[in-house]
């Protein structure tokens, strides 16, 4: 062990402010929020993805991730979540680069649409005001969101996910210290 990086500096306050940013992001899809005090997560994990993980995951939430051994150990230690090998069993899926297919994740059932996976997707950059055109609940007219480094074929996968609504996967996008979110009901058109 090369010395485990610390988690939140103030676990109570930092978890709250991170959650609040994610809640606002989920409520206003495409709006980008800067986290105020994200932890220094082990590479290649971004501070934002690390913060979201620590704020939301714990021993009750099976996690799948592809962020390498250091990040896995860090997540296990600080969040205490069980790490699973099959992304289809995970409540949180933390992906860097190519994520598992959305269709391979839990999407919930008609009676329990909330029992679906949340994908924490790390990308290169998030920018408001240009790029994709987002419409749906939480958006007055349209929000523009530019996502640098979105996985290939993402929009087609997203359209299929959206068609399952009210079932479906929700996504929290992370880049650097920024977060944005795509709840399952958001419609995305190419910019």
């Amino acid at each position: 062990m090369t010395g485990l990086l610390p988690g939140f500096a103030d676990p109570v306050v930092d978890a709250q402010s991170t959650f609040r940013a994610v809640l606002e992001a989920m409520a206003r899809p495409g709006r980008v929020h800067r986290l105020s005090a994200p932890p220094a997560a082990p590479a290649p994990l971004s501070p934002a993805a690390g913060a979201v993980l620590l704020a939301l995951a714990d021993g009750e939430t099976p996690l799948w991730l592809n962020a390498g051994a250091d990040a896995t150990e860090w997540a296990r230690f600080h969040a205490g979540c069980p790490v699973v090998a099959d992304a289809g069993e995970a409540e949180f899926v933390l992906a860097i680069g190519a994520p598992p297919a959305l269709s391979a994740l839990q999407v919930g059932t008609d009676e329990d649409p909330h029992r679906s996976a949340t994908l924490i997707l790390q990308v290169q950059a998030l920018e408001e005001g240009a790029g994709w055109r987002l419409t749906g609940p939480g958006i007055e007219r349209e929000h523009r969101l530019r996502v640098a480094g979105a996985p290939e074929g993402f929009l087609a996968q997203w359209a299929a996910n959206r068609a399952l609504s009210p079932r479906g996967v929700d996504i929290i996008l992370c880049a650097g210290d920024r977060v944005a979110a795509l709840p399952r009901g958001t419609m995305i058109e190419e910019g």
Binding site: Q16, V22, D110, E140, P166
Partner: protein, 282 residues
């Protein structure tokens, strides 16, 4: 109050509620079951709202608590005092405009809400169909199928019998044209304020262990019929204190000979108007 975590709940419970809230926002109007905890206040007195507020607020927030529209009703005072005790650093306010989080029972403030504000509703009965179908295993199925025929029939029977829809509060709404939802027992006068609101609206039912949400700018339609459109009701009068002819009014009985007067139910709205009138007069 020492010995308790910030905002009373332990961090594990907050995370559980936070995860449920995110799913609630992602599926507008759907009732998410959650592991509601026993609170030091009785069920039915706002335990759901308190748990939601406790999971959401931080030391940078400004909290307003109202009951029946008023900041000074006993239960509002009690809940505000609870948070002042268990959430050091948290500011409390009676001003709707200043608040970042507003916990409410039975009203939506008159002052229009804005982006960045979170409304937290205390919900006694989250299931809009409960009077028509008390078995929750069955209502869960009906929501899955979006089968709301029962409610349509009930409203239709109201009209046939009374010439109008008889529900004057807790009038059911469709959220995003998908889920039938209880707006909590707000007067139907307040229902239109939910539609396309800039604020995020969260609902907590502690005893029934359900959370739900309406994201900002989301369609919230009060159920009605084309030939019997939804009409929000208010007393036909003006507030005796501030003169408002638009706000929702409480009727105050002044004697036992039929004497009565009307005052705003929203004490902050009424007080702000009175202050402005006084300033204008000086």
């Amino acid at each position: 109050m020492s010995g308790y975590n910030f905002a009373y709940l332990d961090e594990g419970t907050k995370r559980m509620i936070r995860r449920a809230l995110l799913k609630a926002v992602a599926v507008p109007g759907f009732q998410v079951p959650f592991g509601s905890r026993e609170m030091p206040l009785p069920y039915g007195w706002g335990t759901g709202g308190i748990q939601v507020t406790a999971a959401v607020i931080g030391p940078d927030d400004t909290l307003k608590v109202i009951d029946q529209g008023a900041d000074d009703t006993t239960n509002a005072v009690s809940i505000r005092r609870f948070f002042a005790r268990v959430a050091p650093g948290l500011r409390t306010t009676e001003s709707t405009a200043e608040a970042t989080v507003i916990q409410t029972r039975h009203r939506i403030p008159e002052t229009p809400l804005r982006e960045g504000q979170v409304m937290v509703y205390q919900v006694p009965q989250p299931e809009p169909l409960f009077r028509l179908e008390p078995r929750r295993a069955e209502t869960r199925r009906l929501h899955a199928l979006a089968d709301y025929g029962l409610m349509q029939v009930k409203l239709y029977e109201d009209i046939a019998r009374h010439g109008r829809v008889a529900s004057s509060y807790d009038h059911p709404v469709m959220v995003g044209e998908r889920y039938l939802m209880s707006p909590s027992p707000i007067p139907s006068f307040d229902n239109p304020k939910m539609h396309m609101s800039p604020a995020l609206q969260l609902f907590g039912a502690g005893r029934e262990r359900r959370l739900y949400a309406v994201p900002p700018y989301t369609a919230v339609r009060s159920l009605d019929f084309e030939d019997h459109p939804f009409v929000p009701l208010r007393a036909n009068g003006r507030c005796t204190l501030c003169g408002s002819g638009e706000s929702y009014l409480d009727e105050v009985v002044t004697d036992d000979r039929g004497g009565r007067m009307f005052v705003c139910s929203d004490t902050d709205y009424c007080g702000t108007r009175q202050a402005a009138m006084k300033e204008a007069a000086e």
